[in-house]
Symmetry: C2
């Protein structure tokens, strides 16, 4: 036996390309086209770097308090981490220790299967229907846990509280994770259900609606019992996941509700405009409740459009995966970026 035999064998998650150049339009990672709140800028500028000599608040207490206040919860119901992926991987580890498979849609955030593989969690995927809709009754079955992204990615489709309640009512014995990474762009949050269901965990990110992908901040909300298990799991991996500057930046972002709402409105307006333009060009796409659209064209292969757009220095996301390999996931950029995208597509998609 060599040491090589004991190295892990895994198929990692593949994020959107980060091309090694600067002059291109990046619509492949669902980043926000607008800067974070000016209060974030102030918070970073006035941060006294001498404080960096000390460890940060291990449980990110100032940030957790700010989030709890905004969401109408107690601090004991909130857990903050180094991006939602950090929070979700800890949640998978903390809650999915059954021998029964956890279940989630076949078309959803593709990191789910990667976490299951590395954490040795058995899983089964439940097919969405031909319109990419999730049927709540499909989740009324024995399982070791449930994970639903709402709105779902990469489909952009959001569901209402009745749907989430149906999922929860048939899963009283499982932890149900609702990943609300995109909820701010027009989705319906499950936060009101936290009072009723102590097995519900909701995750959120600062990367999309709060323009802080580069700051690595995400959080979870749930019963004090679930949140305590997340802290214990965190303290068994990496005690201080959120650095001091990120904690200050996060508080500043959360406290600027006006800027947040204003940015959301701009992204949503651009999305509605892009949706109309794409449909006029013959694309079919569901109504999006996110900061991206999920579009297919009856006459052109998605991969073909994807490659063409790259030649125009426009990067969108194409998944080489069954059922969705003829769709493009296109992030809502600025109005200028969207104009450039529309112009390029109009050139390609001849009527």
């Amino acid at each position: 036996m060599s040491w090589r035999d004991n190295i892990i064998k895994i198929e990692p998650y593949v994020a959107g390309e980060q091309p090694n150049k600067t002059d291109f339009i990046k619509l492949n990672a669902n980043e926000n086209p607008y800067p974070p709140s000016p209060r974030v800028k102030e918070a970073v500028a006035r941060f006294d770097t001498e404080h960096l000599k000390k460890y940060p608040s291990a449980n990110a207490v100032p940030l957790v308090k700010a989030i709890a206040k905004r969401e109408g919860l107690k601090p004991e119901n909130v857990f903050a981490g180094n991006g939602t992926d950090d929070v979700l991987s800890l949640a998978f580890r903390a809650f999915f220790n059954s021998e029964k498979p956890i279940i989630f849609p076949d078309i959803t955030y593709s990191f789910n299967t990667v976490w299951c593989d590395i954490l040795k969690i058995p899983y089964e995927t439940v097919p969405v229907d031909e319109n990419f809709n999730i049927s709540a009754e499909d989740y009324a079955r024995e399982n070791g846990g449930v994970v639903i992204a709402n709105p779902n990615a990469p489909t952009s489709i959001g569901r209402d509280l009745t749907f989430i309640r149906e999922i929860l009512d048939c899963n009283r014995d499982s932890v149900v994770i609702i990943d609300e990474a995109y909820v701010d762009f027009g989705g319906t949050t499950a936060v009101p259900l936290l009072k009723e269901y102590d097995n519900l965990l909701i995750t959120r990110t600062f990367s999309k609606s709060r323009s802080l992908a580069g700051m690595r901040l995400g959080w979870a909300m749930g019963s004090a019992e679930l949140v305590a298990a997340l802290y214990a799991t965190k303290d068994s991996m990496n005690s201080y996941p959120v650095d001091s500057i990120a904690q200050s930046a996060g508080v500043a972002s959360i406290e600027d509700e006006d800027y947040f709402q204003c940015t959301l409105k701009r992204v949503i307006a651009t999305r509605e405009r892009l949706t109309k333009e794409l449909r006029a060009m013959g694309f079919s796409l569901p109504d999006s409740q996110t900061n991206f659209v999920f579009a297919a064209h009856p006459k052109y292969y998605a991969k073909e459009i994807f490659e063409y757009l790259k030649t125009k220095d426009i990067y969108v996301r194409w998944f080489n995966k069954p059922r969705i390999d003829n769709y493009l996931r296109i992030t809502i950029g600025s109005d200028e970026e969207t104009d450039a995208l529309i112009a390029a597509l109009k050139e390609f998609v001849k009527p």
Copy 2:
């Protein structure tokens, strides 16, 4: 079965206390008393927060390049993470997949056993001798991996290259991790051995010698093969562990060698003074190659001194653990903090 039955049961790592007050002397987490380099201050102040809307470099490329340059390595030999604990937990996951137990000293960084528990890695501890010395020949046995902190914590004892080479020579079939968290304070680095041993992984942190505990930065160095496995493991848990500001701050720190050396000299000078003073008071302690000392007094229980110092608003570290429960681990603070510590101890330890 309830969802509660599937929640993980774990005993997390316990870090040094973070008392909920500001006016006290904190010598319990091996933090640096001096601020980070002025270049870090500049890098944070001039960071354009608009960049935060985009994801950071997933593999922290600018930081990895700066580290590689300083250490005389290629970028492919360096991996950066969200603090050394993040890096070590990924390394345990990536490299320790044997059914044979990994081995490490019974007295060492106490996170090792926590990672083994949560990652289900079998382990055995190897007793250090009565003077807390590690014997290389004890590591000439079948194992699934080896982890040595050099200098070791909490003992403060460092060993030379001959010792590390002995460990490596009897472990050609295991990955050997040398944790060099404290090496800058007078220890001997194993970096020159990287050319010879492709199963050697060395870890470092920005938290101690670089005064950046609050920024969460650590790194690993090893063969391209080991480093590639770390990236794959990272990409299976959390793709972007190091935020954009932390990457800039890390580069600034690495590039200011003069300030770094100057701070190290000050800490070492204070350590030598404290060592003399403690010995004069009757404490016994090994010569430290770290930014802390590990001291016992023949006439007083360590816990008693620990509790007494708290009443004087001085926090040091006491471990309620076999073999070391009569020792205190005391961080080297500023000269003023050290004066206060010495004065308080002199009052307590009557001749």
